[in-house]
């Protein structure tokens, strides 16, 4: 792998984090704490493999991942909005639930422990473009620089991410969502259905995080591995904190964390005289040390965690 390889590897590592942290941003902008991203990603990863296995198509599997994440988002919003639960406790319980359910279903559906059998993964960017080209009748083999040989989900994640960022920052609905997170009473007085908006924001955020999980299982690999998210959901929340709950900041933070993960994989094959654990621990160490740095001053949404 060349030094250019590290750029594409960064993209591959940052893409699932970007999806998950934008999911978290949607939910937290509306004022609902969402530490359940880990569980949403895990269920998304599992559902993607399950549905891809059952249907035979990784694209339908991707939709399965979306629905899996949305299901956890639905539970989180019902528990925290309807039943007024402590949102942090609810999130942690849902992460536990996701780990248990994914492990149990893995055993029930595939009859195995730990790792699922391989399913059809999503095509690479070049392959996907080639099939599109042949459908619309353009001759020639497309060659995308850097990420051409990597999963098609990377460009899709970037496009989706930019769309979500624009939606939160510039659209009227995005403004409504942020209003619910800053001052729900004022928003309610202005005639906004605060609970409904928060509900939709959490469920949609769950869907995004589920897509991020699906990226891990049918984009990067083509199977589900128990606990395969490895704290990425929490890294995504760390990206929210580092990015100060602003879309552009979140994007930058996600790139930093993605670079950390990519660098550790890149170094792991070069500096083989160092023990494996150094590289395994590197992404988390990068995340924590970056959080020590004080950048900017934007605070979290004022009404975060309050109904």
């Amino acid at each position: 792998m060349s030094a250019v390889g590290i750029v594409s590897l960064t993209a591959a590592k940052a893409a699932p984090l970007l999806l998950a942290s934008l999911g978290g941003l949607l939910s937290e902008s509306s004022g609902v704490i969402n530490f359940a991203l880990e569980g949403m990603m895990l269920i998304g990863a599992f559902m993607a493999v399950w549905v891809a296995h059952a249907s035979g198509s990784p694209w339908i599997g991707l939709a399965g991942g979306l629905l899996g994440g949305m299901a956890i988002g639905f539970l989180h919003s019902v528990v925290s909005l309807k039943f007024r639960a402590n949102q942090i406790v609810s999130s942690i319980a849902l992460n536990l639930l996701a780990a248990g359910v994914a492990g149990m279903l893995l055993n029930e559906v595939f009859g195995v422990y730990g790792t699922s059998p391989s399913v059809a993964g999503l095509p690479t960017t070049n392959q996907a473009l080639a099939s599109v080209f042949s459908k619309i009748g353009i001759a020639g083999e497309p060659e995308v620089p850097l990420i051409g040989g990597m999963s098609v989900l990377i460009p899709l994640a970037v496009l989706l991410g930019l769309a979500v960022m624009a939606f939160i920052a510039w659209s009227t609905t995005g403004l409504h969502i942020r209003a619910c997170g800053e001052n729900p009473h004022a928003a309610r007085a202005a005639g906004l259905p605060v609970t409904g908006i928060r509900f939709l924001a959490v469920v949609a955020g769950g869907g995004l995080a589920g897509l991020g999980g699906a990226f891990l299982s049918i984009g990067e690999l083509s199977q589900f591995v128990e606990r395969m998210t490895h704290g990425r959901g929490y890294l995504a929340i760390a990206a929210l904190i580092l990015g100060r709950w602003r879309p552009a900041g979140v994007l930058a933070a996600v790139l930093v964390f993605g670079f950390g993960q990519a660098l550790s994989e890149w170094l792991a094959v070069r500096w083989t005289y160092l023990p494996d654990q150094v590289f395994l621990v590197f992404p988390y160490a990068v995340c924590l040390s970056v959080l020590v740095v004080r950048i900017g001053s934007k605070r979290p949404p004022s009404a975060l965690g309050r109904l």
């Binding site: 530490f35 539970l75 528990v79 309807k82 039943f83 007024r84 639960a85 402590n86 942090i88 406790v89 609810s90 942690i92 319980a93 849902l94 536990l96 639930l97 780990a99 248990g100 359910v101 492990g103 149990m104 055993n107 422990y113 490895h230 704290g231 929490y234 890294l235 929340i237 760390a238 904190i241 023990p275 654990q277 150094v278 395994l280 621990v281 988390y284 160490a285 995340c287 924590l288 959080l291 020590v292 004080r294 605070r299 979290p300």
Partner: protein, 362 residues
């Protein structure tokens, strides 16, 4: 205490339980429903857990020994939660405490048992405390939520211990374990039955829980801590050093988790090995929250979770229920306990209606 005071106390405790108890009943009903959906009769589940955990003297001794880490990690989570901090880093703190204490016990083998045992415990607790402190610093100085930092530090602790036990602190084999600790550092059995037995550890953990309960409910410091827990802003206005209490309790919480690891080494495994904790740190969260983070009731949740943990092989063998089911049960209970405010308001609504009806208002 006069009669009116007693009545008020009873009414108060009914009110504080009026959310938790229905929530737990609801949670257990949901678990039963899930069991039925999975094709297992809930009665079978309960009897298997009971016989698996308490059916024979051996089983009971094993279950009691599993209670120790659960009580301590549960106490760790409850203690930090008194000041509104959630320590989900017990897993890492426990692992690090276990490794530090076993390495210390091996290195300090010549010391007599009477000195070695307390020192080993102190080293374990110190390692856990040291691993907890950065999280509270990040919280206070940089506004990083402690749930995030402690979780990331879990991964770091586990990889750090894995490296140390495969390298410098290992016993030279490729097994990924430390040498066995000297017999002077091992806690003797108070009561034994064949190869298994009960040490003083579960009772020590129970005493710690009761001690913390009394500390919180009967002392001036405990009052300050509970004030911080109910409102940081008004405590700050009243001159209570909020940040200092949060730091102290969080570090103490880490120390308890580290102590759990040290006790696990000194009473059960007698060494540290890779994948040391089967999730005791996360079980501590459940143990704490199903009794509303009140240390006086931890024995109940600790025994319950230890029974589940001890019976997991039985569940697998006789009912083909995977250990993942235990995680699901915990999650369902946690979720329903988190919803207790709703149950409490329903109870209060019924109570007011009842009082209205009784006083003749229709």
């Amino acid at each position: 205490m006069n009669k009116a005071g007693l009545g008020r106390r009873i009414e108060g405790s009914i009110e504080s339980l009026s959310g938790l108890v229905p929530a737990l009943v609801f949670g257990f009903l949901m678990c039963a429903l899930l069991a039925v959906l999975a094709g297992v009769a809930p009665v079978d589940l309960a009897t298997t857990v009971w016989t698996g955990a308490w059916g024979s003297p051996d089983a009971a001794a094993t279950t009691l020994s599993k209670t120790t880490p659960l009580l301590l990690t549960g106490l760790a989570v409850s203690l930090a939660y008194q000041t509104n901090l959630l320590n989900i880093g017990c897993e890492g703190q426990l692992t690090l405490g276990a490794l530090a204490s076993s390495a210390f016990a091996v290195a300090a083998a010549p010391l007599p048992g009477l000195v070695l045992i307390p020192l080993t415990m102190l080293v374990g607790a110190g390692a856990g405390a040291a691993w907890a402190y950065p999280a509270v610093w990040l919280k206070q100085q940089r506004g990083v939520h402690e749930v995030i930092s402690t979780l990331l530090m879990n991964y770091m602790a586990i990889y750090l211990c894995e490296y140390l036990v495969l390298g410098p602190l290992g016993d030279g084999t490729a097994m990924g374990r430390t040498p066995e600790i000297p017999t002077g550092a091992v806690w003797p059995f108070l009561w034994r039955h064949g190869a298994v037995g009960v040490t003083a550890a579960p009772f020590l953990a129970l005493l710690l829980c009761i001690g913390v309960h009394l500390w919180l409910s009967r002392t001036c410091w405990g009052y300050e801590i509970r004030a911080v827990g109910s409102s940081t802003t008004s405590s700050r206005a009243a001159g209570i050093p909020v940040d200092r209490w949060q730091t102290r309790l969080f570090v103490l919480s880490g120390a308890l988790a580290g102590l759990a690891g040290a006790l696990e080494v000194a009473t059960v495994h007698h060494r540290f090995y890779r994948t040391f904790s089967p999730g005791y740190g996360f079980d501590g969260i459940t143990a704490a929250f199903v009794v509303n983070a009140s240390p006086g009731w931890l024995w109940l949740s600790g025994l319950f979770l230890a029974s589940l943990r001890a019976a997991d092989k039985w569940l697998q063998l006789s009912l083909q229920v995977t250990p993942n089911a235990i995680v699901i049960i915990q999650a369902v209970l946690l979720i329903s306990v988190a919803c207790q405010a709703r149950f409490r308001s329903a109870w209060q609504f019924m109570l007011t209606r009842f009082k209205e009806v009784r006083s003749g208002y229709r």
